[in-house]
Amino acid sequence: MGETRRGFLKKAGYAALGLGCGLPLFGAAALGERRARPRTPAKQLGLVIDVRKCMDGRVARAAIEACHSEHNVPFISDPLEEVKWVWTEPFERAFPDQAHGRAPEFLRENPVLVLCNHCSDPPCVRVCPTKATWKRRSDGVVMMDMHRCIGCRYCMAACPYGARSFNWRDPRAHLTDVRAEYPTRTAGVVEKCTFCDERLREGREPACVEAVRCVPGADGAMTFGDVSDPESEASRLLRAKFTICRRVELGTGPNVFYIV
């Protein structure tokens, strides 16, 4: 029996309908597969900062001084053009969602040491058009490749912590003592903390952590380690103490923790 025109059109219509309904499912499955691909790094370096032990201004100063001199970070007093890798913020600016009027005085009155949070899902990495910044698989550090940065500043707009600085001018003009072992930057690139990747390579801990260790009475003010390893000192602290992170509600997954 021959196929009627009407019958054929009907079948074709059903087939199209079936495909139309099925394809999004396939698409979703494929997307889910992409999502489910292990994106978590082999380990995740993190930092636990004890706010009480950092109340003495010397601790923050030691950390900032050590970091900025080690990495040739220029000192520019104009806040619109300043460059900073680690710095202090008033509590209500560091933790706008935690700062209420009845918070303990020591929290409200002492600035908090802040730096790049080396987020688990870093928004800066998502927006970088040149992959000049990326999440390192081996240890979870959010890396910077100054060679590749084109200075578009998307990452600065994306970072909710203000952890990135742009070089509006030649930084060498603002450096009193240049350390030859570490490169400076040029005008037109963005820079930030990289957990001292150059030190990590040699098995040393970040400059700020090392400097703070030398401050008398600041023992345990900064604990650096693999927060994905339950045996690490940092993980042990995280289990034992109550810690907060900056802007957790944004879902960036910060890896700098504060014991309050």
């Binding site: 990326w134 390192r136 081996s138 890396m143 490749d145 100054m146 060679h147 240049v178 030859a180 072992e181 490169p183 400076t184 930057r185 040029t186 990747d197 390579r201």
Partner: protein, 127 residues
């Protein structure tokens, strides 16, 4: 043909202008000859052989840069000698070639290339 002299003078001026690059290079001789390759005293051999380094050191440095910064590697195994070196411009290269003027700038100036390594990186301070 009363304009013969004018035309001849015009042609000479035109030829002089058109051939400016040729005669200028001849007149300012000295800058025309490539600089002598300086061999560092004390060092026996480079990371790779001389021909490779002369022609392709920039590619090697680019590769080192990407491997160190982006892939977290730190050592390079020489293709020609099999020895391993730390991939570092300021440590490995400048250990034998400490003088930027003699080993980098002279040749780059002659070749008219302007690498921007030194915009950020620094020569190690003299010991």
């Amino acid at each position: 043909m009363r304009d013969r002299t004018t035309i001849a003078a015009g042609l000479i001026v035109f030829a002089a202008l058109a051939l400016f690059p040729v005669w200028w290079n001849i007149v300012s001789a000295g800058s025309g000859s490539p600089p002598e390759l300086e061999i560092p005293a004390g060092a026996k051999r480079c990371v790779e052989d001389k021909a490779f380094m002369t022609a392709r050191h920039m590619e090697l440095l680019d590769r080192w840069r990407d491997e160190v910064v982006r892939q977290g590697k730190s050592t390079y195994t020489s293709v020609s000698t099999g020895e391993t070196y730390e991939m570092s411009l300021t440590k490995t290269c400048m250990e034998c070639h400490p003088d930027r003027d003699a080993f980098c700038d002279r040749c780059h100036a002659y070749a008219g290339v302007h690498p921007y390594c030194w915009d950020c990186h620094m020569e190690p301070k003299g010991d």
